[in-house]
């Protein structure tokens, strides 16, 4: 009671000058609410959205950069893999071509060998045949010549009359047969 009277009589400040500090001043309380409300409104409507936008953009920029780097790395990796794959393929192809060439070469050699052998055989055979034919021809020609020469010679010795002789052929044939059989007596011819 005494305290109340003292504050009431406090003069200049009145009650509020000496009031216990935990008694809220109504207008101060009101302005506390009002100022916070205004600040909250501005912060919620303007400041926070702006700052969040900055955050988001910055994050996006950083992540975008990282994504780009990752992409580049992935591309490089892909290129390397492709290159290596191509290299392997090329190597395989080269070895295949080599194998093919080897096989082909061997085949060609074999074929050539066979061909050459066949050709050689054919040439040999032809030569044989030709020789045989020429021999036959020579035999025939020789036989004719020998006959003619013999008869000429004989004609010259025994006269023209013998040429017309119808047995001429028989004589020559017989002579030659004797000649071939080997029982010709030279002395006889020489004596004649």
């Amino acid at each position: 009671m005494q305290a109340v009277t003292v504050t009431a009589e406090g003069g200049e400040g009145g009650f509020w000058a000496t009031a216990a500090p935990i008694i809220p001043h109504p207008l101060e309380f009101f302005f506390g609410l009002a100022c916070f409300a205004i600040l909250y409104f501005v912060v919620a409507k303007k400041v926070v959205p702006r700052l969040e936008q900055i955050y988001a953009e910055r994050t996006a920029a950083i992540e975008g950069g990282m994504n780009k780097a990752e992409e580049a790395q992935a591309q490089a990796q892909a290129a390397l893999e492709q290159y290596q794959a191509q290299l392997v393929e090329a190597r395989a192809e080269a070895s295949r071509i080599r194998e093919d060439a080897k096989a082909q070469g061997a085949q060609i050699i074999a074929e050539m060998r066979e061909h050459a052998a066949a050709e050689a055989a054919r040439i040999t055979e032809t030569a044989h045949k030709q020789i045989e034919a020429e021999r036959q021809q020579a035999v025939v020609a020789l036989r004719n010549d020998v006959g003619r020469i013999s008869t000429d010679l004989a004609g010259r010795i025994v006269g023209e009359s013998l040429r017309e002789e119808t047995r001429q052929k028989d004589i020559v044939e017989r002579f030659l047969a004797e000649l071939e059989s080997g029982d010709v007596v030279r002395e006889k011819v020489g004596e004649r």
Binding site: T18, F29, L33, K46, L51
Partner: protein, 259 residues
């Protein structure tokens, strides 16, 4: 003691009446100095925040960097960590506004020519604590339903006999202790810090002007006043941070799935 007793007794220590500084009018509806400072701080903060975020630069200017640092502290260091990445974004504007408003008003306590911590007038901390109190109850009830919210105050798995006493304790905490301590902590720190600084400075001045041995004591007192001012700076920041932290904690508790 004897020195103080021997000194002239015309020194009056600063008291409650130092905080009553009406500018316009008097009584309950007077526009007081802290009201003016509150308006000034609100205007300054709004100007600063809109000016530094206007460009929205990815590579920030100094001002934007400062704003972003404070914003990051509240957004990631307080809201995200305590409330969780799922729901915290709703409360970031509230917590950020709360933090910067308290911080600037607290810093006014040591920055001339303001030199007056607005929060040493209990009307302001009560207003802010009331907002926090309403918000965490409303979001809690939205999340769990009216009945579900009160049920969620009691942790699950208690023995039956414990449910009622725990509920009563939690109810007192939830309805009374939290908002009152939130307001009183801020008010008390600012009020006590300011009155202590006023005491050191005015007492030191008194001793310096008294002459004799007291000049030395006055010098020492002023050195202490300087140290106290630095200490007060720390307390001012810390109290803004603690207020915001606790607000976030209460909201986190209200929206948590398991209490």
């Amino acid at each position: 003691m004897s020195i103080v007793a021997a000194a002239p007794t015309d020194y009056t220590a600063p008291g409650v009446e130092e905080f009553w500084q009406p500018l316009i009018g008097d009584g309950a509806w007077a526009i007081t100095r802290p009201i003016f400072l509150m308006l000034l701080s609100t205007g300054l903060i709004i100007w600063w925040l809109t000016a530094t975020t206007k460009k929205r630069a990815l590579v920030p200017s100094r001002g934007q960097m400062g704003t972003e640092a404070v914003y990051g502290l509240v957004r990631n260091g307080v809201a995200k960590d305590l409330i969780g990445s799922h729901e915290f974004m709703k409360f970031v504007p509230l917590l950020f506004s709360m933090f910067v408003l308290i911080l600037v008003n607290n810093l006014f306590g040591v920055i001339p020519p303001m030199s007056y911590p607005t929060m040493s007038r209990i009307g302001f901390p009560i207003a802010l604590a009331l907002i926090v109190w309403i918000v965490f109850h409303v979001v809690g009830m939205k999340k769990h339903g009216f009945v579900g919210y009160w049920k969620s105050l009691v942790p699950a798995g208690l023995p039956k006999g414990m449910i009622v006493p725990i509920f009563i304790l939690e109810l007192i905490t939830d309805l009374f202790t939290r908002p009152v301590t939130l307001a009183l902590r801020l008010f008390g720190n600012m009020f006590a810090g300011h009155i202590l600084m006023a005491l050191f400075i005015s007492g030191g001045w008194y001793m310096l002007t008294s002459g004799g041995v007291l000049i030395v004591a006055g010098g020492v007192t002023w050195v202490f006043a300087f140290v106290m001012t630095l200490f007060e700076l720390l307390v001012e920041f810390l109290q803004a941070y603690v207020f915001t932290l606790l607000a976030a904690l209460y909201i986190a508790g209200a929206v948590a799935d398991e209490h």
